[in-house]
Symmetry: C2
Subunit: 441 residues, 2 copies
């Protein structure tokens, strides 16, 4: 065996991902050393509770509750605690003590990314975070390096496995949201408190990270428009299917041309349930899988597909970063800094231009369609398709109703939402059943 | 604008990819400078013929026929000539004069990769080749960096756009190989001499490159088993469809466990038309697109999808490499060397274990199926499925015939081929219609 220099690797956190990272570091030490050009010595694992239950058996002497002492003298610090504090403090401590940092902490990067990357730049340290954006899927290096000579136009990502699992089961089984969520919780696909997933917070954090990279711009979490999937019901899924669509929770990061009277480009970053054509590659991403669809000016359409979560899958991405960090330690030189030179402004959701599907319940009497069409036209929303069906009256119905499903051409979100408000107040519309964006053609 | 250091970039070749690279370098200079941290000055374009027709308009004063003088004093040399010579000599000259090299030349890397990487190691130069493996799809960095902490088990790649286009049209239209090839040639999807594509030479070069990276092993082109698609006809496609498969030209790179009585792992690298289940993600790769499906021990299943060829698409991958090379020049330090430390042996095709579909024409008389089943069983080939249909007799038929389509469990290629030989000689088999491997359970 070659005689390598030894690098001290500190691990913060031993949860689902951390315990797998430790296990793989110990198990594949020789192979990793060959690839990194350095022996990776796991110097310790900082945890809150020494007696906590771990997914895999790890040598007890590695554990410590004293993260700060562990960090001192480490060459590489892997942060897998999650959450903002103490992760933020310890990551900054690691950077300032000269270590490179590997993290999967999307919440931390989406909220304190600038502080962390600035601190790393100051001392010439590098922060690696392949596992923070889409689990095991290599997306950070492709965006940062492979596409560095290209211009990303749009990213559409299925970046949250829990919501994709729920929407996929609703689509294949016709089941309702609450039922599938309960099953997902039983199976461990959803947390007891599913808010972060189903309300789109997790996807929004990942969208901020992906947009920052793709557009060389600092995208704060607050700039990400966010809607969850709790309002998606079986009827909406069925209606989508009828129209040749599937509903996916998408993180959309888009480069916008200069609007009339404005100078320069801007970007839009948004997370919401959207209609995706069943022939689109994203439509066939099933179960808890993730996929990131990237459109670039020169490269055209690219898609990256794989497991978006899971302890051992995410550990693969973390270890790839550890090897990169080790290679950099051995090779010398400074790493690739975060590129935020473009610093494009983020536009509010009202400025977004996309297509829509509007579903209305209307009075079933003459002239209603003409009224609806008139309101849309006045609101600068152009109709592409329309389908009207009679709704069977129920016992307590006061009159005959019809359902209108309207597909629009591209429209400005602000125009669209004002138009929908006018429709709701028009007297002929009994109920606005749903308004969904259509993404990806 | 920031005042950057200037790096001199020399371009060798101005064909479909080269002219787009030059165009993008000139058009997006400021943006590329911001990303690279260096001004990228296109110092010249070496071509054979100064008056050659180019895909895009480029400043005439950049062109030269004197590649050797251009290379001297360059920081980055982009080799997009293709072919072995003079590409090999000029790439080595560039390395030895201290430049980093970016190349899309799969033929060169698959045949002289070791020589070139060794030369680069000697002087601490780096060779980038993202565009050599699957056009615009970022696959090199994911394999070299993102999965560096994981163990790749298998790669199944659709890495040749021309053959995927031909097979896809045969599948969707029921057309025959020769007709679709002629159309593909008319449309520019296939070359006038299509041998490199349809006989699998191009795919074999890419398979050698991918396997070398994935398994940290030097894989010479001669170690790649190669079969083309010229024997695939409409009847085979139809029969595949009937059984729920689609035929794809696959590059399969596989890690094999130690066989009985042997020590250590080995690998198999092979290119052939194979049956792929229609539910597999690779089955939905249509047209001239490429996709690389990667299975890793920890990461699980990943897929990378995009354009496999095309001038501007491939130019995106080349420019990503140029930016990486520039960053390295600015940052200092040595780059990531080729990792060939595992150096696993490549096994011959006879050692490969996979599933098969055997289609036979047999005499339609009692006892034939029993005879065929006996021969398979004697040859250690286990039957999973069997379907027998009567063939309508033609005018010149000598007797009633039946068609047998046999799906096998996994078998050793050597056992399988010996068994097929015995079937052909058995007296009850009129014709072995086809033997196809089934990949990607």
């Amino acid at each position: 065996m070659t005689d390598y220099r030894t690098l001290r690797v500190a691990l913060l956190g031993a949860g689902a991902v951390g315990s797998q990272v430790a296990d793989l570091l110990l198990k594949h030490g020789d192979e990793l050393a060959d690839r990194a050009g350095a022996t990776l010595e796991l110097s310790g694992i900082a945890v809150r509770n020494l007696d906590g239950k771990r997914d895999v058996d790890l040598p007890r002497e590695l554990f410590t509750t004293d993260a700060e002492t562990l960090i001192v003298g480490s060459d590489i610090v892997i942060e897998l605690m999650g959450g903002i504090e103490p992760a933020r403090t310890q990551v900054l401590q690691a950077i300032n003590s000269g270590a490179d940092v590997v993290t999967a902490n999307k919440a931390l990067l989406a909220t304190h990314g600038t502080e962390i990357f600035d601190a790393a730049d100051q001392v010439g340290a590098q922060v690696y975070y392949e596992a923070a954006a889409a689990g095991a899927i290599p997306i950070i290096r492709p965006l940062r390096d492979s596409l560095a000579g290209d211009r990303v136009v749009r990213i559409m990502g299925i970046v949250n496995g829990t919501t994709n699992y729920i929407l996929d089961r609703m689509d294949t089984e016709g089941a309702d949201f609450a039922d599938v969520l309960a099953q997902a919780q039983d199976l461990g696909y959803a947390e007891a408190d599913p808010t972060a997933d189903v309300e789109g917070y997790d996807a929004a954090q990942k969208a901020a990270i992906l947009a920052s990279l793709a557009f060389h711009t600092t995208v704060p979490l607050e700039a990400v428009h966010r809607e969850g999937i709790t309002s998606v019901d079986a009827a909406m899924i069925e209606s989508a299917r009828h129209a040749g669509y599937v509903i996916k929770l998408l993180a959309v990061c888009e480069r916008l041309s200069a609007a009339d009277g404005e100078e320069g480009e801007s970007i839009s970053v948004r997370v919401y349930p959207a209609l995706v054509d069943r022939a689109h590659p994203l439509a066939s991403v099933h179960g808890a899988n993730n996929a990131v669809f990237v459109q670039a000016e020169a490269a055209g359409d690219l898609m990256f597909y794989g497991a978006g979560a899971g302890g051992v899958q995410t550990a693969s991405a973390v270890l790839g970063d550890v090897v990169s960090a080790a290679r950099r330690h051995i090779a010398g030189g400074v790493g690739v800094g975060e590129s935020t030179r473009a610093n494009l402004p983020t536009v509010p959701i009202g400025r977004v231009i996309t297509r829509y599907q509007i579903t209305l319940e209307v009075d079933d009497k003459p002239g209603v369609l003409a009224t609806v069409a008139g309101i849309l036209s006045d609101g600068r929303v152009s109709i592409a398709t329309v389908e009207q069906t009679v709704i069977e009256p129920t016992a307590d119905a006061t009159g005959a109703s019809a359902r209108l499903v309207i597909g629009t051409h591209t429209a400005r979100e602000q125009d669209l939402s004002e138009t929908v408000e006018r429709l709701a107040a028009s007297g002929v519309v009994e109920r606005v059943v749903s308004v969904l964006r259509v993404e990806g053609n």
